[in-house]
């Protein structure tokens, strides 16, 4: 990819240890202007620690971070003015109202009075929260807290936004609305790093880094990652999937079988070759299978397979 403009965020060999544990171990990635970048991985992968170092809330043991042209490690105070950070618990004051929370953060960033009031009004309207201005933040639902947290993060119009697991536990409807807000920010050229443990959310990012045990396993677009998956995923629909389990597992070219509620997901090396073979083997058992078709792999399938590959190589 041609480097048209300087990357909004550039991370090189970032590391952080806690005692003997290497929470972040040589992580590198870069985020282009106006891109939504995902840091994806399970708990303990190093997402939150990485985010905290990007927000200069924690000091790295090694490595460099440049955000909007500023060296974060050397000049954290300057970096903080360019970046907006929304931590996992949103950073809201439960005993202050929606308006008071927004005002507080606006003042901390010294945003001129008229500018932040206007911006706040717009953001609240977009989230459908205009009537809740005088409501205490502690009395808002999870989805509304999330939107308020985002509003507070956006009130000083940052060019870079860091969101640490902002959708955990939030209802799917609010989650969708949240992503629509992120997409409109993207259209305005804001660069975002969003960390999530929901692998299905990874699909919504422009590019993502799969993290595991403090290291970046892969870094690519969602489609690119799916292409990396060798072979294909075949879905066998059956209401007695357990009886098919052993037979399927024993077949040639089958790399992994996952039991799902209404059948099996089978990872094969080649759909074209194995589907007929599977269909025949299943027919021989006498158990009825209504479908044997290829389905599109999701990010979780990719993650599990790639992780197993890595472990086998080690």
């Amino acid at each position: 990819m041609a480097v048209a403009a300087e990357a909004a965020i550039d991370v090189r060999d970032l590391s952080k240890r806690f005692g003997r544990l290497a929470a972040v171990d040589g992580v590198s990635f870069s985020v282009a202007q106006g891109e939504i970048f995902g840091l994806v991985g399970p708990d303990g992968a190093g997402k939150t620690t990485s985010m905290r170092m990007l927000a200069s809330v924690m000091r790295p043991d090694a490595g460099s971070i440049r955000v909007d042209g500023v060296d974060v490690v050397a000049d954290p105070d300057l970096a903080k003015r360019h970046v907006s950070y929304m931590p996992q618990r949103f950073g809201l004051y439960d005993d202050l109202t929606v308006d008071e929370n927004i005002r507080f953060y606006a003042e901390l960033f010294e945003v001129p009075g008229r500018a932040w009031r206007e911006r706040a009004q717009r953001l609240l309207a977009a989230s459908g929260m205009t009537p809740f201005g005088k409501r205490l933040a502690g009395q808002l639902s999870g989805g509304m807290k999330q939107k308020l947290g985002l509003t507070c993060a956006l009130v000083h119009a940052p060019r870079v936004l860091l969101l640490d697991e902002p959708t955990t536990g939030v209802d799917p409807v609010s989650r969708r609305e949240f992503w629509q807000i992120l997409y409109s920010l993207r259209a305005d050229g804001v660069s975002m790093v969003i960390s999530t443990a929901y692998l299905d959310e990874a699909e919504r990012c422009d590019r993502l880094a799969l993290l595991n045990r403090g290291r970046v396993m892969y870094c690519d677009t969602p489609a690119g990652l799916k292409r990396k998956l060798p072979g294909a995923i075949v879905h066998i629909a059956s209401n007695r999937p357990r009886e098919l389990l052993e037979i399927v597992r024993g077949q040639d070219g089958v790399d992994g079988v996952l039991l799902v509620g209404d059948g099996l997901h089978v990872h094969v090396d080649s759909a074209a070759r194995r589907i007929p073979e599977l269909t025949k083997a299943i027919a021989q058992t006498g158990v009825e299978a209504s479908e044997v078709t290829t389905i599109e792999p999701n990010i979780e399938d990719v993650f599990v397979v790639l992780l197993e590959q890595q472990q086998r190589a080690a």
Binding site: G44, D171, Q180, L259, E300
Partner: protein, 321 residues
């Protein structure tokens, strides 16, 4: 009805109110023997409240519930003797070892002597912790703790298992391994009621109940639910300039709704084939050539969002059935 064939859990018109807040409203369902019933819904939907009522920890405001044929209000102690419960945060003792935890929970459930030793061995093997029995729980990673917690919950061989968000904070491989264990238990006839807010875990369950705002908004197998109407069909549109495409595409006849999804648009349409045939040409005609479109299956989340919106919309009863 033959007791061996009777449903493990029967819930009928269950409601629970905390003051003026209605945490559960008129919830009814059964769980058959050996079934894995998944409760999907966001935080605050009422999943934990439901599990607590069924464990006899909360009294319902209205309705009835029986577990293993015993009414949860009349005899909660008897209910608790027959169920296993795994809580959200695993509730293991970090400063005790694996086997010390198992002994403790065994003692609480009244399992002792030779039977306890056998069950402990079973739990250790199930969790894959053979050789690590003396390790402190604090040194175990998330996936191990989770399997150990499951082991602690089944020492007394309960016929019914309640799992409250058992897979929070666990890596995907461990999650899959955990679900394999659940499937093995269910094959042995244990009924499992699982609550989760991961939509994709619905695939692992025999049947799913979607719960939002304290109400049951859908009940069925994953297969059935995904084939249900979400008010249309889904198309995925990929093109260069999503922003402009979004503004244009909503004007295409037959397109009910459009939203950005990563680098593409998801369109909700009445007739997938019809719209697919025309939309690319239409966009090209308006200055956006090179768009491609394909049909995609709705995800569980699509289903959920549609149902929640329908249930919240002010409509006459019977729409979301």
């Amino acid at each position: 009805m033959d007791p061996a064939r009777a449903p493990s859990i029967v819930v009928d018109g269950l409601s629970k109110r905390f003051g003026s807040f209605s945490a559960l409203h008129d919830v009814s369902f059964n769980v058959e023997r050996g079934e894995i019933m998944g409760f999907l819904g966001p935080n605050g939907a009422g999943k934990s409240t439901l599990i607590r009522v069924l464990c006899g920890l909360l009294r319902p405001s209205d309705g009835r519930a029986t577990v293993a044929g015993i009414d949860v209000v009349e005899d909660p102690e008897a209910v608790r003797r027959r169920i296993g419960y795994m809580s959200q945060r695993f509730s293991l003792y970090n400063d005790l070892s694996v086997v010390e935890n198992l002994r403790f929970f065994g003692g609480i459930y009244g399992v002792a002597g030779r039977p306890l030793d056998e069950r402990i061995q079973f739990a250790v093997e199930m969790a894959g912790l053979k050789g690590r029995e003396s390790d402190l729980v604090a040194t175990l990673a998330g996936g191990w703790k989770q399997r150990l917690a499951l082991g602690c919950a089944i020492l007394h061989q309960p016929a019914t298992l309640f799992l409250d968000e058992p897979t929070s904070g666990v890596d995907p491989s461990s999650r899959r391994r955990f679900w394999n264990l659940i499937h093995e238990l269910s094959a042995d006839g244990v009924s499992v009621l699982v609550s989760t807010h991961y939509m994709d875990e619905a695939e692992y369950c025999t049947r799913i109940a979607l719960i939002a705002d304290g109400r049951l908004i859908a009940l069925g197998t994953p297969h059935d639910l995904k084939r249900r109407s979400i008010g249309g069909e889904l198309l995925e549109l990929a093109c260069g300039d999503i922003g402009s495409a979004l503004d244009l595409v909503v004007a295409v006849p037959g397109v009910r709704d459009a939203a950005v999804y990563g680098n593409a648009l998801h369109l909700l349409v009445d007739d997938a084939e019809g719209v697919a045939a025309t939309v690319c040409g239409w966009l090209a005609g308006h200055g956006l050539p090179g768009a491609t479109v394909r049909r995609i299956a709705p995800s569980m989340e699509d289903m959920f969002v549609y149902l929640v919106r329908a249930s919240r919309a002010p409509q006459p009863a019977g729409v979301a059935a």
